[in-house]
């Protein structure tokens, strides 16, 4: 095979030079990427491989469903909490438990703070170095940098020439020391970096500011959940009881002092996103708006489950403040409803994954999911089973399964949510998108790109920061009206449960649509399946040969220097890959899980 066309419209050609990137860094977890480039250094084939696998689902079998949130929370420490929230929703769905309004508001604030934190840290600390060259910042004129700051982010108080000069001096001496730490062996002479030195200096300065500030954003979760990372959740509500003016309120989880603290954090988060993050995206985007690679599936097929219920316990699309729907084949005029219980909608395939099914032509709905591992390299793989030089993508090649929505490979994540929202006329999202397109002076098609993904994430952080204010006000209003309930414990005792039930819970994780399917039998977990955002985006090929979002997004990108994977990293990072999430699945047995052989 040298050239084939995939059913979802991509022409793959493996005849050119093969480039291997392993490990792909600045992501959560472990992944590998291989591409073929033609004589003009244009990517003509892309292969993404999930390279880790942990087995949370089998570990969950037989456990107390009320504990499942803590186990699934450990699927990922970066999107900490979103799995926990998905899990408590799945259990509540199975058992028919309604939660109090205050619990809904508090959960939403926690989930929104994750969106803000995750997006901000992703942009500045995982993604920025794909666009920003810290070494080039040394050549900047601090005065001109100050002017750039005042022009692009006029509301940020730290903008004096002296401030930027100090940062530049610190950076200069750091670079001159020769101990570059995390910046070591970067691709700093690569012509793919397009920013003028002043923009580089401004961005590096904000890299450091954001590193200082990010630790504050999620302290709302420290108040409501006791610690961050991995705050505490509760089936039936939230664990943090409210005591505003009663005896011993000072030692209560939520009191006036705690609420004031939360309010302060919410206000400062909104300020930072509006005054620093959004302006930086627009400033950097302005210099890169000619680099519109990376669209992949975004202009074709996108999926969103929706999240952030306005009122408690109503998960219908009308009550969810994040959009719900599926768009296929680029038809933005037609947004399909999504039903996670329908066995024909979400299915997982494994012909190119290191698992086996009795019939690999068919996909399986998660409630009926099978996870039977089968680690085997294809006939044309180079190297050995424990020293892979080149993957053979014609065979099985990833620890990630291939989920499909009605047979379609889908992109999920902030951009998918914004496209669905835009197609549905979601007012806030549409205003943000139009404002951004206008500022950058680009057509709407520019959305379907690596840069579009990165911009959507920032816009979503802004939306989430506004919504935190909304839910805080809602929480206060409800308390003022006399309702201080935070948990419904009527069915907390397993003795009250039916013998056999099943449920599904979903959220929009920072990286995209996330759902957990649970079956409970005799008060214990009988089956637990998670289909997570990076399983969607990082999926290998399916039975029909459709490529997933990562692979599609790399197609036809021009690389400046194939030996320096700046463009590959840039586009993969725009998805914010989370590999521990995607590859946590595991078979039902213990010891000999995988049969390793090279054919």
């Amino acid at each position: 095979m040298t050239a084939i066309q995939t059913p979802n419209g991509f022409n793959l050609d493996t005849s050119g030079q093969r480039v291997v990137v392993d490990p792909v860094t600045r992501i959560e977890g472990h992944m590998r990427c291989e591409v073929n480039v033609d004589e003009n250094n244009i990517i003509r084939n892309a292969v993404s491989t999930g390279t880790m696998w942990r087995g949370l689902e089998v570990i969950l079998k037989g456990r107390d469903p009320r504990d499942a949130w803590a186990f699934t929370q450990r699927i990922c420490g970066v999107c900490t909490g979103t799995h926990a929230l998905t899990s408590v929703r799945a259990v509540e769905d199975a058992l028919g438990i309604d939660i109090p309004e205050n619990a809904n508001s508090i959960r939403n604030i926690m989930q929104l703070s994750l969106q803000i934190h995750d997006h901000l840290v992703h942009f500045y600390h995982l993604h920025a170095l794909d666009w920003v060259n810290p070494v080039n910042a040394l050549r900047a004129d601090p005065k001109a940098t100050s002017e750039l700051q005042k022009l692009t982010g006029p509301n940020h108080p730290k903008s004096s020439p002296g401030y930027f000069r100090d940062v530049q001096n610190r950076l200069k001496k750091f670079v001159e020391s020769g101990q570059l730490g995390p910046f070591k062996n970067g691709y700093w002479t690569n012509p793919a970096y397009l920013l003028p030195p002043e923009a580089d200096l401004m961005a590096v300065t904000h890299y450091l500011e954001a590193l200082d500030f990010q630790k504050e954003i999620m302290t709302t979760r420290t108040i409501f959940g006791g610690k961050d990372i991995h705050p505490n959740w509760l089936v039936g509500g939230v664990p943090c009881a409210i005591n505003i003016d009663g005896a011993l309120a000072a030692g209560a989880p939520v009191n006036m002092e705690r609420l004031n603290y939360v309010k302060g954090v919410i206000d400062r988060s909104l300020e930072f996103v509006k005054n620093v993050y959004i302006p930086d995206i627009l400033a950097i985007g302005g210099f890169y708006k000619g680099w519109l690679y990376g669209g992949g599936l975004s202009g074709k097929s996108v999926l969103a489950y929706g999240d952030i219920p306005d009122r408690a316990n109503d998960y219908s699309p009308e009550n969810l403040l994040m959009p719900v729907g599926a768009i296929v084949d680029g038809k933005l005029s037609e947004v399909h409803p999504v039903d996670l219980r329908d066995p024909d909608q979400v299915q997982e395939f494994v012909p190119h994954s290191w698992y086996s099914y009795p019939d690999e032509k068919k996909g399986l709905h998660p409630w009926d999911g099978i996870t039977e591992p089968n680690y085997v390299l294809g006939a044309n793989a180079k190297g050995t089973s424990t020293n892979i030089e080149e993957i053979d993508e014609a065979a099985k090649y990833s620890w990630i399964k291939a989920p499909r929505w009605r047979g379609h490979a889908m992109e999920v994540g902030p951009l998918a949510r914004y496209i669905v929202g835009y197609a549905q006329g979601h007012e806030y999202f549409t205003d943000q998108i139009n404002r951004t397109l206008r500022t950058l002076d680009v057509p709407v098609d520019a959305l379907f790109s690596t840069l579009g993904r990165t911009a959507a994430r920032a816009l979503e952080a802004e939306w989430a920061a506004e919504m935190q204010v909304y839910f805080f006000d809602k929480l206060i209003a409800n308390i003022k009206a006399g309702d201080t309930a935070t948990a419904n414990v009527e069915k907390f005792d397993p003795k009250t449960w039916p013998t056999e039930v099943k449920g599904v819970g979903f959220t929009e994780a920072p990286r995209g649509a996330l759902a957990h399917w649970i079956k409970i039998k005799d008060t214990k977990i009988d089956n637990y399946q998670c289909v997570v955002p990076t399983t969607w985006n990082g999926s290998p090929r399916d039975n029909e040969g459709n490529i997933g979002a990562f692979e599609a997004s790399l197609m036809n990108t021009k690389m400046e220097r194939p030996e320096e994977p700046v463009e590959i990293l840039r586009t993969l990072h725009s998805f914010d890959p989370c590999l521990a999430c995607s590859t946590h699945v595991m078979g039902p047995d213990g010891e000999e899980m995988a049969d390793i052989k090279v054919r």
Binding site: E28, M52, R74, C76, T222, G251, A594
Partner: protein, 358 residues
């Protein structure tokens, strides 16, 4: 000539005054008192930055996420000024072979003189290929880096005990660092917790840097300074335990008054960690303060000890020097199920305290 920590800080625009303030804060965060500040300042003025290779195995990256939340010192200052973080695939600019080359370079340049920080753990099943780095088992990278390091820090419960992927039936045979077969016999310091408290992580680094030695460790390899006390021992809700005032159900009257969470499953009485003293996120709170029972995330095998909401049946302590009978009939009646064990209280408690010290 390698620069000292102080020189680096000065070079990066930090004033002498800020530097000394930093030293006082460091002394305070280590529980050393202000008289130690000059000693820390002296150490930092005369010692070079130590290279660190931070490797990632099977994990959820919560340790790194916790680390960057450190309030004192700031993660920024640790990374830029205290250590030389030469390899950490979560934040490093380089990828692929440019990233892997850094490990070899560090080994050549600093053989026997760098710290190996381990987050996560290696799987032994599947020939180690359920965690692949550069086409090979992570296990190989780990052992290679361990061969040439000065010492190992096992961050978090994954590296220290195995944590969630090692919970029954541990399908990948995920193995904590100190149990990895064939690992070079290097000193290992365990900093357990899922994740560990950020300021505990940075304090361990600062301590090593300042005093050029590992902190004193307990029998299990944890720094005594942070892991020698149970959460229960210094819990702000302890007086309610002693008084027999308990949360009976979430969001009940007791929950709103901040009563003891023992009856809804709190594992504070059997968990050694600094949550109730150092607290989380700059000292802001800890799980019990937020109304949820501690589930013991820094303890070996905590995932396999029954439901988080099951009541401990082996808690004996009612007050530091008193048992339930001395506290009074009311308390003993309320606790009910636990009373049977109270007779053995004093003896067991003394034995435990002794054990903790050795």
């Amino acid at each position: 000539m390698t620069e000292t920590f102080y020189e680096v800080m000065r070079r990066q625009g930090i004033t002498r005054r800020s530097f000394l303030k930093f030293c006082s804060l460091t002394a305070a965060s280590l529980g050393l008192g202000p008289s130690f500040a000059p000693q820390i300042a002296h150490a930092m003025e005369s010692k070079p930055r130590i290279p660190v290779l931070w490797l990632h195995g099977l994990e959820c990256t919560c340790c790194s996420e916790s680390f960057i939340r450190s309030a004192h010192p700031l993660a920024k200052d640790v990374i830029l000024s205290m250590i030389s973080l030469d390899y950490d695939d979560t934040i490093m600019a380089a990828a692929g072979h440019q990233a892997e080359a850094i490990i070899e370079e560090t080994i050549q340049k600093y053989d026997g003189n760098y710290i190996l920080a381990c987050e996560g753990n290696p799987p032994l099943n599947q020939e180690g290929m359920s965690c692949i780095i550069a086409g090979r088992p992570y296990l190989e990278q780990l052992k290679h880096a361990a061969d040439h390091c000065k010492a190992i820090i096992s961050w978090g419960s994954c590296a220290s005990w195995g944590c969630v992927q090692a919970a029954r039936p541990n399908p990948t045979q995920a193995t904590p660092i100190h149990k990895v077969p064939g690992l070079a016999p290097k000193p290992i310091i365990k900093v357990p917790g899922c994740p560990p408290i950020a300021e505990v992580m940075t304090a361990v680094i600062t301590y090593i840097l300042t005093f050029e030695r590992f902190p004193d460790l307990d029998r299990q390899g944890r720094p005594k300074m942070f892991y020698s006390q149970r959460i229960h021992d210094k819990c702000y809700r302890r007086p309610h335990f002693d008084a027999g005032q308990f949360v009976e159900a979430f969001d009940d009257e007791g929950a709103r008054k901040g009563y003891c969470l023992y009856k809804v499953g709190c594992k504070g009485p059997t968990t050694y960690n600094a949550c109730s003293t150092v607290r989380w996120n700059g000292g802001l709170s800890f799980p019990i303060q937020s109304g949820h029972p501690c589930f013991g995330c820094s303890e070996d095998g905590f995932w396999d000890k029954g439901s988080f909401y099951d009541r401990l049946t082996d808690v004996h302590g009612f007050g530091i020097e008193a048992d339930a009978n001395e506290i009074g009939g009311a308390a003993a009646t309320v606790v009910g199920a636990a009373t049977a064990a109270h007779a053995a209280l004093s003896a067991v408690k003394r034995a435990r305290q002794k054990g903790g010290e050795s």
